[in-house]
């Protein structure tokens, strides 16, 4: 039974507890034992790293050092920002030993950083450590008919030098997992566009326009719902939708689900475990599509690209 250190981050215990709860269900089914990092602290995003670099490194470093006390060799992180901060810090520390010493000296009572614990986002953990095949095996209630736009947001795969995971511009890991669940990921171009999270409070206008385009493109792609793996993405796209509609005169009604919610559903957990009440945009209409037949004409066409095309006989 694989073991995993769990770093929930502030949102998982607040706005995005449906993420947290479904995550735990999913992990149970996948046979992964999650151990929440004891006495974890704020990762510092995003206020710390705009103020002082040292603090922005020291905060995550403390978590990393704490994680090294546990036997598990991987720490899974729910929130994309936390993940970004932790992974950035880890990379910085591992590549600049002298800097590591300096920062470490500020949290000396916690112990010395050894760099033995790997840091992964939950998405990365599902994709690399579990794998779509293993996930598919656990599916008891395939989500056939559900068309989803996979939205990765800015931090899960970027910057490449830090994350070292999937493609920074057109990632596919979540799409693969969705396919494994039986759902159909749509051709969605705005997978990694900015949703404006950092302006969520300071300048909502920007959020409205940025998130607006994402929603629009999601609808363009024919998706019934948007899937995310980051609490901030979720809250922005879900919570802001009414305002967006009001501003742009649109009526999107696209629910925004966590990857773990759909996994939980496919693994046979009842709808109520998904905590539908936590959503601004009701998720039931979208889930009602499960079971429909999908028509996708472009699939039937042959790819035009020279390289893979092989000969055909009349």
């Amino acid at each position: 039974m694989t073991k995993l250190t769990y770093f929930p981050g502030c949102s998982a215990h607040g706005t995005s507890e449906e993420f947290d709860s479904t995550l735990k269900l999913v992990m149970k089914t996948l046979g992964v034992e999650m151990e929440e990092l004891p006495d974890w602290n704020c990762c510092g995003a995003t206020s710390a790293h705009v103020m002082t670099e040292n603090l922005a490194l020291a905060l995550p470093l403390r978590n990393l050092v704490l994680a090294e006390r546990l036997p598990n060799k991987t720490m899974g992180i729910a929130c994309a920002s936390c993940y970004s901060r932790m992974k950035t810090t880890k990379v910085e520390m591992d590549s600049h030993p002298e800097l590591a010493k300096k920062i470490n000296s500020t949290i000396v009572e916690e112990g010395e950083y050894k760099g033995v614990v790997d840091v992964k986002s939950m998405l990365q953990f599902f994709y690399e450590d579990i794998g779509p095949e293993a996930i598919a095996e656990k599916v008891v209630y395939p989500l056939k008919g559900l068309k989803v736009a996979c939205y990765y947001g800015c931090l899960l795969t970027r910057p490449k030098s830090v994350t070292q995971f999937d493609s920074p511009e057109y990632p596919i890991s979540m799409d693969r997992i969705m396919e494994a669940l039986g759902a159909k990921p749509t051709a969605f171009d705005f997978k990694t566009e900015c949703c404006g999270a950092s302006f969520s409070i300071s300048d909502t206008e920007i959020v409205l326009s940025l998130s607006g385009t994402i929603l629009e493109m999601a609808r363009e792609s024919g998706a019934h719902a948007i899937v995310v793996a980051c609490p901030l993405c979720q809250s922005n796209l879900d919570m802001r939708q009414p305002d967006i509609d009001k501003k742009a005169g649109t009526k999107y009604n696209i629910p925004v689900l966590y990857i773990t919610q759909l996994m939980a559903l496919a693994f046979g957990y009842p709808l109520k475990d998904l905590k539908p009440a936590k959503h601004i945009i009701p998720i039931e209409p979208a889930l009602a599509h499960i079971g429909e037949e999908i028509e996708t004409p472009e699939e039937k066409k042959k790819p035009r690209k020279v390289v893979e095309a092989e000969s055909e006989v009349e």
């Binding site: 493609s167 057109y170 051709a187 171009d189 035009r304 690209k305 020279v306 006989v313």
Partner: protein, 657 residues
């Protein structure tokens, strides 16, 4: 007994002012081998040289020492003087008492004078050990090998052949013509590529001095300048070119369809095919990877329909050998694969194409009959976005260098688009416009004025699909804001990149290449056509990105080099090269290891006189040896020595003072 003559030069005041020349001459006279010593104002002048010539005869000198300026200055002059006097020119030694004494010790005449005397002593000692050397003449095979049948290869081959020198032109595809044959019209004059290229192709085919080997590849190149031997593989075409008339019945009836390389895969060709209508030679070949007859033994239609019975499914690759004297490498360029630009959706959207695909579309003989169409739905695009520097000048995702031609052909594309689709509009994202060349800047202006194309300075950050069309989002750096252009078609000006097998070719030819795979010239400025290996020259994009005029110019330059090389019946070479004393040679072959030119080979000689047993010894190929002496210094048994710089000579110099 050696009889050395010493001739000390005043070099006007240059030497005399700081070195006591008469004293030096007196010193020289004291050396026992020196039979004659004299000073003169200008030894390099005619009377000066005359003194040397006379002295050689009068005093029966066995070697001559001239104490004057640096040997790098006048060694040749004085050598000539010696040979004029009937003396072997290599019995000359020059003592450099100007650069090495008078000019650098101007404050201390006494020391300068002593040093000058020492330098002369050394030169005398060395000259005693000098041997008579004779210029090496290497025979030349006056036949050139041109690798690559693009415009560069064609031009080089024609120029060489017109000088009545036989040429073997090797092309890997079924027809010559190369990239230029794929182009529609060419900048800056917009004359049609076919119209200017095809006549040259025909000339090649019909030229009495050119042997054209299409569908062939060079496998091996042995030997050295003037005396190469090339092994060339003629790939099995399964068509007998001698009887085939190129009627075309076979490829009309062939049932197998294959993406057409010549049209960048936009349409299909048959499994038996001739790449394009104007192909030279215009004979089909069977593509063994796709022909069902060759793969599964079923079909055989082409054989049935061929009246001449030219189809031969049993044909095998054959290796032909050619003796050649020089090589011109003109393997051209490939396109850089833009797939790293994921944000552009390369490979995901059919309506994003490369500039060469666009070129084929607008080409009159192209798959779409000269009209650009959207691959997705065949509609004629109205709004076309051209993105320049895709790969070029991009250290993050592509390559550092500038591909040189994209600015020009993109301007051309704007014009062509305008000609073919009058109500179309071109948007061009660019970093800089690099239009250095005769008539180039004017051409770009013309494109801007004539077509009203929108030039946007800035990089494209994203392309995404909106309905049927593509949204191109980029920055307009001049307005300092983000712009989004809705496009029916996006054309990427992908970077020029060398063929991936260039390094293999380089290794096979024994020449060097850079980190991208471009073949390296001997000197970036002064020897841009030669390679470091004598007798091998470069032409066209195999060396670096070039446009057609530059390519043709370099091709002709390479041809001129070849003709120059073949001017005499033999190649003259400096005799200062290594020689092996087989008596001492142990055959350990360390010299073979360190020789930078692979100039040393081994041979077997009898162990002793008339003995049956053989032993291995080293053998210097005097045609290849450049005389660096690496082998001499590492030879433990002193079996190798370097003429002109023998151990004896150098040691003499050392012990003479």
């Amino acid at each position: 007994m050696a009889r050395v003559g010493v001739f000390v030069c005043f070099c006007g005041a240059n030497i005399a002012d700081f070195v006591d020349v008469p004293a030096v001459t007196e010193e020289a006279k004291k050396i026992k081998e020196v039979k004659y010593a004299i000073e003169y104002k200008y030894m390099c002048s005619d009377p000066g040289q005359q003194m040397i010539r006379d002295a050689i005869v009068q005093h029966r000198l066995t070697s001559v020492v001239v104490a004057a300026c640096s040997p790098r200055m006048h060694e040749k002059t004085f050598r000539k003087a010696l040979s004029d006097a009937g003396m072997n020119p290599y019995l000359l030694e020059v003592a450099n008492i100007r650069e090495h004494s008078s000019w650098v010790h101007q404050k201390d005449k006494k020391a300068a004078t002593e040093k000058a005397s020492d330098l002369i002593r050394m030169a005398v000692a060395k000259s005693i050990a000098n041997e008579q050397l004779h210029e090496i003449s290497v025979p030349v095979t006056k036949r050139a090998l041109v690798i690559g049948g693009g415009i560069a290869g064609i031009q080089a081959a024609l120029d060489i052949a017109d000088a009545r020198i036989p040429v073997v032109l090797v092309e890997k595809s079924p027809s010559i013509g190369g990239r230029m044959a794929q182009l529609d019209e060419t900048f800056p004059t917009l004359d049609c590529s076919q119209c200017i290229l095809t006549p040259k192709m025909v000339d090649v085919a019909s030229h009495p001095f050119i042997e054209l080997l299409p569908y062939s590849e060079v496998m091996e190149l042995d030997g050295y300048v003037g005396n190469y031997k090339a092994k060339i593989k003629r790939k099995a075409s399964y068509v007998n070119f001698d009887t085939c008339t190129g009627c075309g019945a076979c490829w009309q009836k062939c049932p197998v369809k294959v993406p057409n390389e010549f049209n960048m895969g936009i349409d299909k060709r048959k499994a038996i095919y001739s790449p394009f209508p104007q192909a030279v030679p215009n004979k089909p070949v069977i593509d063994a990877e796709h022909c069902t007859m060759l793969l599964k033994g079923k079909c055989g239609i082409c054989a049935k329909v061929c009246e001449k019975g030219s189809i031969d499914y049993t044909m095998q690759d054959e290796i032909v050998e050619r003796e050649i004297g020089a090589v011109v490498v003109a393997t051209g360029y490939d396109l850089w694969d833009p797939s790293p630009y994921e944000e552009y959706g390369v490979g995901r959207y059919k309506d994003i194409i490369t500039s060469l695909e666009f070129e084929r579309m607008v080409s009159a003989n192209g798959p779409t009959g000269g009209v650009p169409v959207r691959p997705s739905d065949g509609k004629v695009p109205k709004r076309v976005v051209f993105i320049k520097c895709v790969g070029s000048r991009d250290e993050a995702k592509g390559i550092e260098y500038c591909s040189k031609i994209c600015c020009m052909y993109t301007a051309k594309h704007a014009i062509l688009l305008h000609h073919k689709v009058h109500d179309s509009h071109a948007y061009i994202f660019y970093m800089d416009i690099r239009a250095a060349g005769k008539g180039y800047e004017e051409f770009v202006k013309r494109a801007q004025v004539e077509t009203g194309a929108t030039y946007l300075r800035g990089r494209v950050s994203k392309i995404y699909k909106k309905g049927e069309n593509l949204m191109v989002r980029g920055e307009d750096a001049q307005l300092g804001q983000v712009v989004e252009v809705e496009a029916d078609l996006v054309v990427l000006a992908t970077a020029i990149y060398p063929y991936k097998d260039n390094p293999d070719l380089a290794r096979l030819l024994g020449i060097s290449y850079d980190k991208y795979g471009y073949l390296s010239e001997a000197h970036p400025k002064l020897r841009p056509v030669e390679t470091a290996k004598a007798g091998i020259y470069l032409a066209g994009c195999t060396q670096a990105p070039k446009d057609i005029p530059d390519t043709v110019a370099q091709a002709s330059a390479a041809a001129a080099k070849v003709c120059g090389l073949f001017a005499g019946d033999t190649l003259k070479k400096d005799p200062m090269i290594s020689t092996v004393n087989t008596e001492f040679c142990t055959g350990c072959q360390n010299c073979v290891t360190v020789c930078p030119y692979q100039a040393i080979v081994t041979e077997e000689i009898p162990l002793g006189h008339g003995s049956k047993e053989m032993r291995i010894v080293a053998k210097v190929n005097e045609g290849v040896c450049q005389g660096c002496g690496s082998c001499v210094a590492i030879c433990r048994s002193m079996a190798i020595d370097l003429a002109g710089f023998t151990d004896m000579q150098i040691i003499n110099e050392i012990v003479s003072i």
